[in-house]
Subunit: 697 residues, 2 copies
């Protein structure tokens, strides 16, 4: 069965619309690259009948066949028309190289809208516009205008920046790094990263998907796809543009803390995407993931003939989150027999400088054979006797025999060059810096854990969406966009535990509510203007039921007297809760991913220590558990300093429910549950502030 | 004037003791390398009369002159004797290549002691034993047995690992990185890193000192020297062995938190040593510091013709602590006139892909000329028109004209190679990864700040050392190695503010102390066994003066009844203090650097959040201020959440005094002042625990 993008990624025939005979022109560079394609290649250009030995027709309609792929490299004004001709001709896959669209002001944006319309009309797969092109090494197609092609390999590469594509191609050529597919995404008018993730997931040539992205077009779709794909294949992303683009207008606590980079970090973490910080990391990770097997755990074995290198590798293991493996007694005994007397047989195993090749090999094989070792690194310095080519063979044999991942650091310059080819054939990553080799291995361990994570399982909980929407509509109708405790009911209707209480407009109502609560209560003024209730003297705590009417009357009168302009909706009468561990859960809307939750311990932990963590909703229980685990002060929840642990399972449930509440009510723009009190046997929200969109959903 | 190590680092004549004619022998490899030395070279070996064209004598005593430098490469057993002969001959500088000393068991250690004795007897400068050798490019000396020499340059390199030396030489050759001196430190029996820091500091050929160290021999001397040297020249250190070598037996709070790596981090920070984490960082930092000028600040200007590269550089600037400079209006206006219309003129300045060389050059020069820009990075992707060699010239001209530091990232492989030579000549660091270029620039900014830091100024405060020592001696005499509140006086005698109070052995004494305090007091049981006073019911708070005798009597009786085995020294009667912000200051003895202070906010901030910072004592006021600044929760001291700021200046004074107390009383092994209460107008320690060495100083 042919899949949606097969014609684009594995075409059997290609036409270049705008191919040129003039060197220096993009249409010439492109056509020259396409010429190496083994299938039929046509040029479309009214100027020629033949071009560089290939047939050339004056227009798309005159092509002898509806080619699998058309590549358009003509002025922007003419692109839409050419696209329509493709549609008419029955050509389904089009790469639009031409620039002059959304990236070029209002005129360009209109042109791009038109392009999208035609693509939809004819159901075309359009890559671009404004791209370098695409390469598929499997079918021998280089449909880019880059000066370099790509070597075959198992890495599928996506880039939002065309310039970065040329950089990577040139650099990869020098490094002999190969690709299955190489795609310049450009303006993503029709096809975007999601479409290619799906296609690469099914492509047997691709073992790793690597992307340079400056933004994601459809956050929820990206997450849904990536969650699935990363169970089968690793996705490594360099997301550029971490720096915040200035302040936004925010009214919630969460809003002042959450940036779009938090959303990307959370989304990538939740769906198992590995985030690279730099270009170096991007390709180090891609290479090792494409060529080495996955380890069973994080325990590293280190073999060296130079002490310093072993120490550096052990240091790197620690800060990359690997464990320096403890070798079992059998391994230690065998090592002691095989290596020189002065050798250090405890991991890191240092066979010392005068060890022979056989001794080095024995040590490496013994260490990798130890069931307590999950991955290995082989280190060496230049040596008067041992040759790096021999060490390279030893490393690749040991890797194959053990089936465990191996990286090497032969800390050398030219002396190590000959060995590089051997290591490359064996797929063993090799770096001068031992720390870099260890970091690459750590990525394998990370991805192995990503594959093993629980399947994303969304709990569907009963939530009274209609009721919430009705109340929000009423508030909006009254011009109320900020709600306080009067919104407690909304949350309760989603099963989110909230301190018992109710709104009272009069002293008598207050008394009735207090009688129902049947215990001391807190009486809090309700006013959209007076959000800092305590500071304005609008809160009374521990009021006995019999005094509630008096206290409510006093509060209403006093506050009214002090703030005659303020709208006062009454008081909120709430059960008094004993002191407990305070946490905060907030939500803002991220433009890319939607509801972004923030969790933290309240007060100074949030404001001063910034000890908070983020997750995109909806989220599974496992993801909510992870969210709680991510804060530095989590021990305070699990029972530190003689305190009993709080009811974490209830907290996790609350987080999942707030996530669902946020997803189902997108007109709630921001939300703070602060504080939520956590006790050993229950958790309960005590206060809420939320902001409603002025327009309904 | 000749300085101490001139004969070693700039010899005029050299003898190789143990030079050999047999290829494959270390004595042959070494002598072959030494042959390129332009001055007189002699071999010492009874087997030959001449060796590879140079005169050879049978023994050191028969050398025709007392050479400046003897290099010894003979079996370990014969080394001490050869050293003695050098001494007799008047040879002052000796490199001992031979291994078989401290690194080889008990026998070797004895041999090394003997070597040190002879070196002291004849006042010899001995490098080694167990070294690769040394290189001085200025005088053309390669006295190593490495297969590669070193190119001339301005980096002086020290390494504790000989294998790492061979690695660096081979790699540096490929990278064309040059050195002024290259020294393998080996066992550091006589000369160690400190001696070379001093020598390199005065060497006009050396601009940067770089070291790979696994340990430091004399921490306080290292700090004293490095504090001075880093004011003139940068020192970059890769200190390997970060991982902790198992748990130590500790009894203090601070002891459970402080590791030797904290001591290294603190010491390096305090004396301005830049710490590299990896080999890559070590040489990236060394290169940029040796070739680029220092910036005035942290504001970076970014010029690119490829958008993605600019975004990556801006991201890297943020996480490296640089600021993306805000260009002034004049610059923006000039840019607008010089670059293509589509260009982005706000920093990062993206001249876009079709900019000409002139446009790129104009942008780079304008950005660097902006007084709000301190350093610049020039970025490019492979380009159909612009050649990297031209961009390299443009970058180096712009650097020279502006006098500001510049790094480049031409994101290319082979296409960029030709440009590398131009950049190398200009000393401009060049990396594929823009993040790496920015990181190198950030190091320049960091070092510029190190040079500008306040001069180390040690406040000498009056401290009653004799009194403290007398009390400690008494405690030791009684077999008491752990002291509690009874040690409050010791601290007070160094001017460390302590809550008023005193030891009472009887109820009457307790009453008398309380009357002096004249207000409510705390009464606390004093027992070396019962360190958790509160848990055993041994603390009564807020006791009115008139009830103190009764309470003291009760405490003594009750505790005695419950813990009949415990030694009870009486009670401590202490003024009651109002609640305040609690901090902890502790001290442990680091084996390398001595007294290591730990500072943090008390309680969960230390135990759960591990929000603590370290400094080596003695420390200046400026360093104590920095220590307070280093904790994440520092805002809680400077007045967060509506609280007034605490008396930070008093806290700083207390820290300085505790540092002096620890330095002057080295038999105090561990110390916890916990809590110290901080108020707006004063700080005061409330409790203390300290451990005394069983042997006095």
């Amino acid at each position: 069965m042919r899949r949606k993008l097969d014609g684009l990624l594995f075409p059997r025939s290609v036409a270049v619309v705008g191919a040129s005979a003039t060197p220096g022109k993009v249409g010439h560079a492109l056509f020259t690259n396409v010429l190496s394609f083994p299938g039929p290649v046509y040029a479309v250009n009214p100027k020629y009948r033949e071009l560089l030995g290939r047939p050339c027709v004056p227009s798309i309609s005159e092509l002898p066949e509806p080619v699998d792929l058309a590549v358009i490299v003509i002025p922007a004004e003419a692109v839409t028309d050419a696209l329509r001709q493709c549609g008419e001709k029955g050509i389904k896959n089009v790469v639009v190289i031409s620039a002059g669209f959304k990236e070029c002001g209002v005129e360009g944006a209109k042109r791009e809208q038109e392009l999208v319309r035609v693509a939809e009309e004819y159901d075309l797969n359009v890559l671009g516009p404004n791209v370098l092109g695409l390469i598929s090494t499997k079918v021998g197609l280089n449909a880019t205008f880059a000066p370099r092609g790509a070597l075959p390999g198992q890495i599928a590469f996506l880039s939002q920046s065309g310039a970065f594509c040329t950089s990577v191609l040139d650099w990869a050529w020098k490094e002999k790094l190969g690709f299955s597919h190489f795609v310049s995404l450009g303006n993503k008018a029709v096809l975007n990263e999601c479409d290619f993730l799906l296609a690469f997931a099914e492509d047997p040539e691709t073992r790793v998907i690597v992307a340079y992205l400056e933004g994601i077009q459809d956050g929820p779709r990206f997450m849904a796809i990536a969650r699935e794909v990363t169970r089968e294949k690793p996705i490594v992303v360099l997301k550029a543009g971490r720096a915040e683009a200035g302040a936004r207008a925010v009214s919630s606590h969460t809003g002042t803390m959450a940036g779009s980079d938090h959303a990307y970090d959370a989304a990538f973490r939740q769906c198992g995407v590995i985030r690279a910080r730099t270009v170096e990391e991007l390709f180090d990770f891609a290479y090792v993931l494409s060529r080495q097997p996955l380890p069973k755990g994080r325990r590293i074995g280190i073999v060296t003939n130079a002490g310093g290198a072993g120490v550096m590798a052990a240091d790197a293991a620690e800060w990359e989150g690997l464990t320096v493996a403890r070798l079992r007694d059998e391994t230690l005994q065998a090592l002691a027999q095989k290596v020189p007397e002065e050798a250090a047989i405890y991991n890191p195993v240092d066979v010392v400088g005068h060890a022979t090749l056989e001794q080095y090999q024995a040590a490496l094989e013994l260490v990798l054979a130890d069931p307590g070792v999950d991955l290995g690194v082989a280190l060496s310095a230049p040596h008067p006797i041992l040759r790096f080519v021999d060490l390279a063979r030893v490393a690749s044999q040991a890797q194959q025999r053990s089936g465990k991942p191996v990286a090497v650091s032969f800390m050398a310059g030219e002396l190590g060059e000959e060995a590089e080819e051997i290591l490359r054939r064996a797929g063993i990553p090799s770096f001068f810096d031992p720390a870099r080799a260890v970091r690459a291995l750590a990525t394998l361990a990370k991805y192995a854990e990503i594959r093993q994570r629980p399947v994303f399982n969304l709990q569907e909980l009963p939530g009274k969406r209609e009721r919430v929407q009705k109340i929000l509509a009423e508030a909006r109708h009254k011009g109320r966009v900020r709600l306080g405790l009067e919104a407690a009911d909304l949350l309760a209707s989603y099963g989110i535990p909230f301190a018992r209480g109710g709104v009272a407009k009069t002293a008598e109502e207050a008394k009735r509510i207090a009688q129902e609560i049947n215990g001391p209560v807190a009486v809090k003024i309700l006013s959209p203007e007076l959000t800092h209730k305590t500071e304005v003297g609008g809160v009374r705590l521990g009021v006995p039921p019999e005094e509630v009417d008096r206290v409510a009357w006093e509060l209403l009168t006093n506050v009214k007297g002090r703030f005659p302009e303020a709208i006062i909706d009454g008081v909120y009468v709430q059960e008094m809760l004993p002191p407990g561990r305070e946490v905060i859960l907030g939500m803002v809307r991220d433009p890319t991913f939607g509801p972004l939750l923030m969790f933290g311990l309240g007060g100074i932990y949030v404001e001063v220590l910034r000890d908070v963590a983020f997750a995109v909703a909806p989220l599974s229980r496992a993801e909510a558990e992870e969210l709680v685990e991510l804060i530095r002060g989590k021990k305070l929840l699990y029972g530190a300093r003689g305190q009993p642990p709080v009811y974490v399972s209830g907290l996790v449930d609350l987080i999942v429910r707030v996530g669902q509440f946020a997803v189902e009510n997108p007109d709630i723009l921001e939300l703070d549950l602060n504080p939520i009190l956590c006790y050993p046997e229950r958790v309960v929200a005590v206060d809420v502030r939320l902001t409603v969109a002025e327009e309904g959903t």
